[in-house]
């Protein structure tokens, strides 16, 4: 009846969590199994550009006459894995520094938080854009930079939570035992943040989807013939009045990815409020 396991079990009872998980599973299925299911390759010509729905191409063709359905099925993997990876990077950096800043306070706190203020001063997309345009649109670079750009938010949340937990008496008790700071952070404080950080992770993933899709839209995704959802929107937007499906298909899956994640976050935080509310009364 405690810890994150029971939190997940409780969240599962929330309607939002179930709907969110269902949507995410569909999107993941499209992204992962899509390449095998696609009727055509990503570069095959199946008809004149911007043809509407036909029996051969149910979602019509794109700006170059490729099959929209096949490109949607094949172009998801990058957006999905890179946004998850970027959220993980953001959590690793943000949680580590947030814990340190929140527990140690003083100089460490000031230095870390001012450092993050500088990162925050640049809009996330611009920050990533600067380096990607300098070094080149490499997938690892995009993931790393997006992670770094999102980490200040994570760090702020973690720092606040840490400060609150650190003033509780069980942390005093650990200090009086002479426990090292690292162990106090790792085994006394961090487990008490896990549920809140779970919500934080899902929220940061939505941000990451936004940043990475925008980069792809701007043509700064990793270059490949397969293309990706963000790029598809860019390519097909000129045809929007005649063949809207070329834009709508990638938008729907990406929106599903973001909304599904958001619903799960909402479900977890609702049941968290309930558990924590019950604890105080």
């Amino acid at each position: 009846m405690t810890g994150s396991t029971s939190l997940l079990a409780r969240s599962w009872k929330q309607k939002q969590t179930k709907i969110g998980t269902a949507i995410i599973l569909v999107v993941l299925f499209i992204a992962i199994a899509g390449p095998w299911l696609a009727p055509y390759s990503a570069t095959e010509f199946v008809g004149p550009p911007f043809t509407g729905s036909t029996s051969a191409a149910p979602l019509g063709t794109d700006v170059l006459g490729h099959d929209v359905l096949s490109r949607t099925l094949r172009g998801g993997l990058f957006v999905v894995w890179s946004s998850i990876a970027a959220a993980i990077v953001a959590m690793l950096i943000g949680v580590t520094l947030g814990l340190l800043a929140g527990y140690r306070g003083g100089f460490t706190d000031g230095l870390t938080m001012r450092g993050f203020d500088i990162v925050l001063a640049f809009p996330q997309l611009i920050l990533v854009l600067i380096f990607v345009s300098l070094i080149g649109p490499k997938a690892w670079l995009i993931v790393l930079l997006t992670g770094i750009a999102l980490s200040p938010g994570v760090a702020r949340v973690t720092r606040g939570l840490t400060q609150e937990v650190a003033q509780r008496d069980f942390v005093r008790a650990a200090e009086l035992m002479g426990m090292s700071r690292r162990r106090i952070l790792w085994s006394e404080i961090l487990p008490n943040l896990s549920s809140a950080l779970l919500v934080e992770f899902t929220t940061r993933m939505i941000w990451a989807i936004g940043v990475i899709a925008s980069l792809a839209f701007l043509g700064l995704g990793p270059t490949s013939d397969v293309g990706n959802w963000g790029l598809m929107i860019n390519e097909n937007r000129v045809g929007l009045p005649i063949q809207p499906l070329g834009v709508i298909a990638p938008v729907v899956v990406m929106a599903g990815f973001a909304v599904g994640t958001g619903l799960i976050a909402e479900g977890i935080s609702r049941s968290m409020a309930r558990i924590e509310g019950a604890r105080t009364s």
């Binding site: 009846m1 509780r168 008496d169 008790a173 009086l176 035992m177 002479g178 008490n192 604890r279 009364s281």
Partner: protein, 583 residues
């Protein structure tokens, strides 16, 4: 106020409280007593037609001035609340809006109910005078956090009496306060109820408080009334075994008694045993008790108890056996000695030249109100605060001031038990994990022995080994505090610092902790510094006591001598303010 057949159910259909019925006459105070989990707060809020979410009032009536408030629609109900029937919560700090000035909050009460228009300032002045608070502009412009706990509670009481209610529900309003403030609040409540002829329900776990305040007493257990009657009847001729055991658990400032814990905890809704809910903890339980659910049975005029064995309880005693007073221990060298220790927060001198010795196998109580510096003193010894001046010696050597600069051996020798067991145990760790921490940290025993050491520690504090996989939230307050004490004992310390360790607990759990600590002093030769504001506890547990007033030690000596023959004015005041059960 007339309450009949009140029942509050959880959504699952289990009752939280059931068959609650009583009358309170104008000007009368009914004390509602029970442990945590007895349903007393549920009854209290139900009298205002309110339940916590997930619960629901399913039957019964609450008549105030002839109106059944449970039959009112939400709009009529809010019109009654705060005007005809009012509520004073346990924690005034959370009941007052931190963003509003005191004056605005008081005025708000009248504005909401459209009362006293045109003469609101006069009413505020009047009601603040009633609760003995100033009503000058400066005071009214303050925010709640600028007031002391006692002042906040008096503001809450002023708000409750503002519109001259017919009935008022007070839910443990003095629990967080020290004895002196508590005595003032109790006096205020008693006077206002009598002057304004208000029917009051006073909810508490402390029978001593009830003794000082109520005309009638209702004892609750597991959601039922187990005994109800006039103050004299319930306190001096108690007939329910639970009431008798509760009374035995109260420490007295007059004499040292054996404090007995009531084993186990009150069962929660859905987990109550068949028949009489109390039978699992009752010393008189016999065969019939599991089958028949006892109803309230009249014993005398206005006195009733729900027990099948009322014949036998007549002979039962509610007076705890008296124990000889503790005397000062003779010991050559002190284990701990403080010499002219000083501490200040800015200009605020918290400790002023305090000197104190503690010997092996001795319990020394440090007594005082909040703000007396008693917690600061214990935190300095523990190494959580560094003294500004003075010297602390432990075992003959100077004690490094902060925990980080102390050797592992010293950290092991001086252990600290925190006031609130709800905050001192990591909610994400099981009891076993919590107790293994010091084992690993101090390198006690060899690798395979951890579980045995943990089991031995649990046994030492009177807990079962089965508890090893439980999490703190699954334990009662008393059990949690025992786990915290077990954690402190794992390293076999020489000195145990206990900072108000019973103030968050029920009287019966408190009795258990006090006997446990005393046993440790007598049998293991542990030295204990017991910080408290309750002189009755001091008599039960401490060989010597030191009384602190605003950072200065005003009196020290053998506990019984200090309490029976106090030489300082402040000690006399403390003794007078300590509530006792007496005629």
């Amino acid at each position: 106020m007339t309450v009949r057949d009140l029942r509050v159910e959880l959504r699952s259909g289990e009752d939280v409280v059931d068959q609650i019925g009583f009358d309170v006459a104008p000007g009368e105070i009914l004390g509602v007593v029970g442990e945590s989990g007895s349903g007393k707060t549920t009854v209290g809020t139900a009298l205002l037609g309110h339940t916590r979410s997930g619960a629901e009032i399913t039957s019964g009536s609450v008549e105030i001035e002839g109106t059944d408030i449970l039959r009112l629609d939400p709009r009529q109900l809010s019109g009654m609340r705060g005007r005809v029937v009012t509520y004073v919560p346990q924690d005034p700090a959370s009941a007052l809006n931190p963003a509003l000035r005191i004056g605005s909050q008081l005025r708000e009460v009248m504005r909401v109910h459209d009362a006293y228009s045109g003469e609101r300032d006069a009413r505020i002045e009047q009601i603040l005078a009633d609760v003995r608070l100033p009503s000058d502009r400066d005071f009214l412009r303050r925010y709640p956090h600028e007031l002391s706990g006692g002042q906040q509670q008096r503001v809450a009481i002023a708000m409750a009496f503002m519109l001259q209610p017919t009935a008022i529900v007070l839910d443990e309003p003095t629990t967080g306060l020290d004895v002196t403030t508590q005595a003032h609040v109790l006096e205020t409540v008693r006077r206002l109820c009598a002057e304004h002829q208000v029917a009051a329900i006073y909810i508490t776990h402390d029978l001593a408080v009830v003794s000082a305040l109520a005309q009638r007493v209702m004892v609750m257990y597991a959601g039922r009334i187990v005994e109800i009657g006039d103050r004299e009847q319930v306190l001096f001729e108690p007939r329910h075994p639970y009431t008798q055991q509760l009374l035995r658990a109260i420490p007295s400032v007059k004499e040292r008694t054996r404090l007995d814990l009531i084993p186990g905890a009150a069962p929660s809704p859905g987990h109550r045993p068949s028949g009489c809910s109390y039978r699992t903890r009752c010393p008189l339980a016999a065969e019939g008790c599991a089958e028949i659910t006892p109803g309230l049975e009249g014993i005398g005029p206005a006195h009733a108890a729900a027990c099948l064995r009322l014949e036998e309880t007549k002979a039962g005693t509610y007076k705890a056996p008296t124990l000889p007073d503790l005397t000062e221990v003779e010991s050559p060298a002190p284990l701990v000695s403080l010499e002219s220790v000083e501490f200040a927060y800015g200009d605020n001198q918290v400790l002023d030249s305090v000197s104190l010795d503690v010997h092996q196998a001795e319990c020394v109580a440090v007594v005082g109100e909040s703000g007396s510096g008693k917690t600061t003193l214990s935190r300095i010894l523990a190494g959580l605060l560094a003294p500004a001046a003075g010297q602390v010696r432990f075992d003959g050597e100077a004690l490094p001031s902060t925990a980080r600069s102390r050797s592992p051996e010293l950290l092991k020798s001086i252990q600290y038990v925190f006031q609130n067991p709800y905050g001192s145990l990591n909610p994400r760790k099981s009891v076993g994990e919590i107790l293994s921490l010091p084992v690993a940290q101090f390198g006690i025993g060899s690798r395979g022995q951890t579980r045995d050491i943990v089991a031995a520690a649990l046994d030492e504090v009177g807990l079962s080994e089965d508890m090893i996989d439980n999490y703190p939230q699954e334990l009662s307050g008393g059990e949690r505090q025992r786990v915290a004490i077990a954690r402190a004992l794992v390293g076999q310390p020489k000195l145990l610092i206990c900072d108000e360790v019973t103030s968050a607990l029920d009287v019966s759990a408190q009795a258990g902790i006090v006997s446990l600590l005393r046993k440790l002093v007598d049998e293991s030769g542990l030295a204990i510094i017991f910080v408290t504001h309750d002189l009755a506890l001091v008599r039960s547990i401490a060989d010597r006591c030191a009384v602190l007033e605003k950072g200065t030690m005003v009196e020290t000596g053998a506990s019984s001598l200090v309490i029976d023959h106090p030489s300082h004015r402040y000690t006399r005041e403390l003794i007078a303010d300590t509530p006792v059960v007496n005629r």
